[in-house]
């Protein structure tokens, strides 16, 4: 699958790390500064993980990989996250 889907699909996987729904969290893109809810990000299947890109500039926001019972997440493309508490 090369066609992207969107950040709604991240609800389950990100629950393992953040323990709350992250699709409504806003993230600031480190590349272009856009601030949007993660639900609108572009998500590419990169089995056994995902690559999540900014819907404005296409740069990588985060990647994560699930392997050997571990979840590895790389957040270098996000300079801030904001969630409802």
């Amino acid at each position: 699958m090369t066609e992207h889907i969107d950040g709604n699909v991240l609800a389950g996987p990100l629950l393992d790390i953040f323990r709350q729904d992250m699709t409504t969290a806003t993230a600031r893109c480190a590349s272009c500064g856009d601030i949007s809810v993660l639900a609108t990000a572009m998500v590419y299947d990169a089995a056994p993980g995902w690559c999540v890109r900014c819907h404005v500039c296409d740069d990588v926001l985060l990647t994560f990989v699930r392997a050997d019972g571990r979840l590895h997440i790389d957040l270098r493309g996000i300079t801030s996250l904001e969630v409802g508490v």
Partner: protein, 205 residues
């Protein structure tokens, strides 16, 4: 689903299958049901070369156990306390979460106008056809064949403009990625605020 906490219309579940050799595959499926009911309704479109959907459609029997996580997602949801008019736009099996919204709307007695524009190949390909036939708030855009007199073919910006509620409505668009991209772009070109257009894409179809 034992212990189900109830769900909001538009939410989904992740279904995980584990093969005898330990290989796991997880897919997200929208719920057509909403509210406190612990009996969940999914609608699964069988993708011929899919890893999960053929199993769910062809092989699962009543009584089989499935690993399921949810309810998931807090963004692509409609809540009964939202009062603005709602335009729902579905492509193919993208109608599933929108049916949940229609049901939630009816169950809550909401007075907010809500209507559905449903793009689908043919009348026979419709999900929830019997239920949708009881509503007078559904318009169809058939892409392959349909009743005589209907315009047949992919949705265009002009047909979209004629079929949807005016600017200021909340809009939910769900379908294959290409469909959602086109519709969302047209809506913004037609004057809809990008922030009032919520989208859910499920890839190629």
């Amino acid at each position: 689903m034992p212990g189900w906490p109830g769900n909001i219309a538009g939410q989904h579940v992740d279904v995980r299958l584990t093969a005898p050799d330990g290989y796991q595959a997880t897919r997200s499926y929208s719920l057509a049901s909403s509210g406190p009911d612990a009996r969940l309704e999914l609608a699964v479109d069988r993708l011929p070369d899919g890893e999960v959907s053929p199993y769910l459609v062809d092989d699962v029997q009543p009584g089989d156990m499935l690993e399921l996580r949810g309810p998931l997602g807090g963004w692509f949801v409609w809540k009964a306390d939202q009062t603005q008019p709602v335009q729902l736009i579905a492509g193919g099996s993208g109608v599933v979460p929108l049916v949940a919204m229609i049901r939630s709307h009816a169950a809550s007695g909401s007075t907010a106008p809500m209507q559905l524009l449903y793009s689908v190949r043919t009348p026979q390909d419709r999900f929830f056809a019997g239920e949708l036939d009881t509503l007078d708030t559904v318009a169809y855009a058939y892409t392959r064949s349909g009743p005589a007199g209907d315009v047949i073919g992919r949705l265009t910006k002009e047909r979209l403009a004629a079929a949807v509620l005016p600017v200021g409505s909340a809009v939910f668009v769900c379908g294959p990625t290409g469909f959602v991209e086109s519709v969302a772009t047209w809506l913004v070109e037609l004057g809809h605020d990008a922030g009032s257009v919520k989208t859910e894409r499920f890839g190629g179809a």
